[in-house]
C-alpha cells in the first residue's frame, strides 16, 4: 500500500511538472506570435460586430496595403459584451494597442484611469485639421486629447411613403415640431389588431423619449433635476394611450426590435439613428422588405431651430501602455482621416471627419432615398449622453426609472423626483 502511495505521489508530481512545462511552452509560443524580427509590428484592435460592420475590414485592408510594415490583429467581440471585454483587456494587462470605444460617453472612465494616451503631440506633429471633426473638443478631458472621433450617428425621422400616400397625408417636412409630429401620427394610425398601422414608433430605449428633452441643449441626462423631461414623457404616454404608438410593455415583453415593425410596413414614422439607413439598404437588397422609405430631419421642440438633433460619437484612442504608440497613431490617423471616412461612407455610415461633400456622398449612395442630403443637414448635434464619468451609471439608473413611467406603475412626477435623488447620490460620490 505504501508503495502504491509513493507511486501515486510520483505520478501526481510528474503530472504537475508536465502541466507546468506545457504552460511554459504555451507562454513561449504566444509571445513570439507577433513582433519578432523582420520589422513588422502587429497591433491589436478590438472591435464589435465585425460581420455587420464591413467598413472595419475595408479600413484594415486599406491600411495594411499602404503600411506594409504594420499588421492589424482584429479581435471581434459581441457588441453587448464589448465594453466589458475591452475593460478586462485593458485592466488585465493584455496587449491592446488601439482603444476603440463603443459608447463615447465612457471615454472619461478610461481616461481617468490613465489608460488613454494624450494625442495632442501626435496631432501637432502631423498638423491634423481638427476643425473637420464632429465633437472633437468633447474628447478633450482635463487638457488632454484622449481620443479622436471616428464615427458619428444622430437621430433623423424615417417614414414609410406608402402609408402617407394611403392616408393622404403630406410627407414630413424637415422643419416640424414634436407636437406637429404627434398630430401627424394620429392621422396616420388606422386599422385594428394584427392589421393595425401605427402612426409613430418610440423604441423602448429611454433615449427615445429623453433625447427629445435634451435636444434643446439646455439640459443633459445628468440632471440632477429632471423636471425638464416631463413634456417628453407626457407626449409619450399620451400617444401610448391614444394608440398612435405601440405600447411600451408590449414592445418590451415581446422583444420587438424597432426594425421589424418598420420593415413590415406597420409603422409610418420612426425617429431613429442614421445607422438605420444602411440596415434598410441591406434589407431591401436582400429582398426582405419592400417598404418605400424616406428620411426627414428629426422633429424639434418648440422654439428650437430646425436641424437640431441628438447624436453620439464613436471615438478611437491609443492604449497608454501600448508598446507601439507611433504605429497605433498611424492607424488612427488613417481610420479617422479622409481614407477612413471614405470607407465609412461607402458602407452607408456617417464619419466624424466631415467636409462639405460628406452628406452629398452619403446621400448619393445606391438605395438612399431622394432628398436625404437635405434631411440629414444639421444645425446642432447635442450628445445624447454627455462625455462624463458619471454618464454610464446615470444612464443605467434612468433606464430603470424610465420603465416605471412607461408601464404607468408610478406617476411621472414621482419618478422624476426619484431620478433626481438617485442621480445626486451617484454623482455626489
Amino acid at each position: 500500500m505504501k508503495k502504491k502511495f509513493v507511486k501515486t505521489m510520483a505520478f501526481g508530481l510528474a503530472a504537475t511538472m508536465t502541466a507546468t512545462t506545457l504552460l511554459a511552452g504555451c507562454s513561449n509560443s504566444s509571445e513570439d506570435k507577433g513582433n519578432s524580427g523582420s520589422g513588422t509590428v502587429t497591433l491589436t484592435f478590438p472591435v464589435w460586430d465585425l460581420a455587420s460592420n464591413p467598413y472595419l475590414n475595408d479600413i484594415v485592408d486599406g491600411f495594411e496595403e499602404t503600411h506594409p510594415d504594420i499588421k492589424i490583429n482584429v479581435v471581434d467581440v459581441a457588441s453587448s459584451e464589448y465594453s466589458n471585454k475591452l475593460s478586462v483587456m485593458l485592466n488585465g494587462g493584455s496587449a491592446c494597442d488601439i482603444v476603440y470605444i463603443k459608447d463615447g460617453d465612457s471615454t472619461p472612465s478610461y481616461a481617468e484611469k490613465g489608460q488613454l494616451e494624450d494625442l495632442t503631440p501626435y496631432i501637432e506633429k502631423d498638423g491634423i485639421d481638427t476643425s473637420k471633426y464632429v465633437s472633437f473638443d468633447e474628447l478633450n478631458i482635463d487638457g488632454k486629447q484622449t481620443a479622436i472621433p471616428f464615427k458619428t450617428d444622430y437621430y433623423v425621422l424615417y417614414y414609410n411613403k406608402d402609408i402617407f400616400d394611403a392616408a393622404n397625408v403630406e410627407y414630413p417636412s424637415n422643419d416640424m415640431t414634436w407636437s406637429e409630429w404627434e398630430e401627424m401620427c394620429s392621422k396616420l394610425t388606422s386599422g385594428e389588431g394584427a392589421n393595425k398601422i401605427y402612426g409613430g414608433y418610440l423604441h423602448t430605449w429611454q433615449a427615445c423619449v429623453e433625447n427629445w428633452a435634451v435636444q434643446d441643449g439646455k439640459n443633459t441626462i445628468l440632471g440632477p433635476d429632471y423636471s425638464f423631461m416631463k413634456p417628453a414623457y407626457e407626449m409619450a404616454l399620451r400617444m401610448q394611450d391614444a394608440g398612435t404608438i405601440m405600447d411600451y410593455s408590449t414592445l418590451k415583453t415581446s422583444n420587438i426590435a424597432y426594425a421589424s415593425p418598420f420593415q413590415q410596413g406597420t409603422v409610418a414614422t420612426l425617429p431613429m439613428g442614421t445607422w438605420f439607413s444602411s440596415m434598410m439598404i441591406a434589407k431591401k437588397d436582400a429582398g426582405e422588405t419592400n417598404v418605400n422609405w424616406g428620411i426627414a430631419t428629426l422633429p424639434h421642440p418648440d422654439g428650437v431651430p430646425a436641424g437640431s438633433t441628438v447624436g453620439s460619437i464613436t471615438p478611437m484612442g491609443i492604449n497608454a501602455n501600448s508598446e507601439y504608440k507611433d504605429e497605433a497613431w498611424e492607424f488612427i490617423k488613417y481610420a479617422c482621416g479622409e481614407e477612413g471616412a471614405n470607407s465609412l461612407i461607402a458602407r452607408g455610415q456617417m464619419p466624424a471627419y466631415q467636409d462639405e461633400n460628406t452628406l452629398n456622398d452619403l446621400a448619393a449612395l445606391e438605395g438612399m432615398p431622394e432628398g436625404s442630403a437635405e434631411a440629414m443637414k444639421t444645425t446642432s448635434i447635442v450628445l445624447d449622453r454627455p462625455i462624463d464619468s458619471a454618464s454610464a451609471e446615470v444612464n443605467q439608473m434612468l433606464s430603470e426609472e424610465h420603465s416605471l413611467i412607461m408601464i404607468k406603475e408610478k406617476p411621472i412626477d414621482d419618478v422624476l423626483k426619484e431620478m433626481s435623488d438617485r442621480s445626486k447620490e451617484i454623482q455626489g460620490e
Binding site: M1, K2, F5, T8, M9, G12, A15, T16, S83, N84, S87, L90, N91, S109, E112, K113, G114, Q115, D247, S249, T250, K252, T253, S254, N255, A392, E393, Q396, S399, E400, E401, S403, L404, I407, E409, K410
Partner: protein
Amino acid sequence: MSGKAKAKKGGLSLTVRQNLIGYSFILPNFIGFFIFIFIPVMFSLVLSFSSWDGFNEIKFNGLNNFIDIFHDSVFLGAIWKTAYFSFFTVIFSMLASLGLALLLNQKIKARGFFRCALFFPYVASVVAVSVVFNAMLQPDYGPVNEFLRFIGISNPPGWLASTDRVIPGLIIVNVWRNMGYFMIIYLAGLQNIDQSLYEAAEIDGAKGWARFSKITWPLLSPSTFFVVMMLIINSFKVFDLVYLMTQGGPGTASTMLSQYIYNQAFISWDYGKSSAAAMILFLIVALLTVFQFKAEKKFVNY
C-alpha cells in the same frame, strides 16, 4: 478505521499515513482549483475592503464599502428580492424535480423521450428561453394570461411588466428551467437505493406513501441535501436569466444581488463595492451551508 491491521507494517504512523492518502486524493484537483479559482476568490475578498477601479493602485479603505452598500436602498432591496426569489425557487424546484424523477423512474413507455423532453429546458440557450417566456407571459395576449382569462380570472397579473408580479414570473421560468436538471440528480439518487429494501417492504405490506416516506425519502437524503444546496447557491447567484428577461426591471423590481454586483463592477467600475456585495451574498449562502451541513449530519442516512 482505515486499515488498522496494516498500520503496524508501514513506517509512518496511522494518522500521518491516513492524512497523506487523503491529501493524495485531493491533490490533483486541488492544485487546479487553488490556482485558478481559490486565489482569485481570495483576491476579491481583499478587494471588498479596498477601493479599486480595476486598474490603478488598490487602496485599503476598511469597512467603507460595506457601510456604503448598507446605505444603498437598491442593495437592501436586492437582498430581500433575492431571498424571496430563492425561497420559492428552492421549494418548487425541489418538489417538481423529485416528482418528475419518481414518475420517470418507473417502467413506462417512451421513458427516454419524456426524460429528454423534460431535460430540454436546461439545455436550451438562455437567449431563446428568455425571448419565448417574455412572449408567453405577455400581459395582453400572452398564452398564460389568455388561459387565466379563459378559466375566469378577469384581471390576470401583468407578470414581467409589473413591479410586484415580476419576481413570481421569474420564479415560474426558473423552476421550469431547473426541474429537469435536478430531476437527473434525483434519478441518479434513486439508482443507489437497494431494491431489496422495497421487496422487504412489500412483504411487510407497505405501499404507496408508506413506501415513499419510510424508504425512498430517507435514502434519498444525500441527493436532497445536494439538490437543496445547489438550488440555494444557484438561485442566490441567478444572473443570466434575469439579465436577459428583465434587466432587473421594471425599475429595480427584479434587481437581485448578482445583478447589483454586476452593475457595480461593470457599469460603475467599483470593484470594491462589487466585492463587498459579493461577500454579503457569500456570507448568506455560507450560513445556509453550515446550517445544512449540521442538518445533514443529523438527518442524512448513509
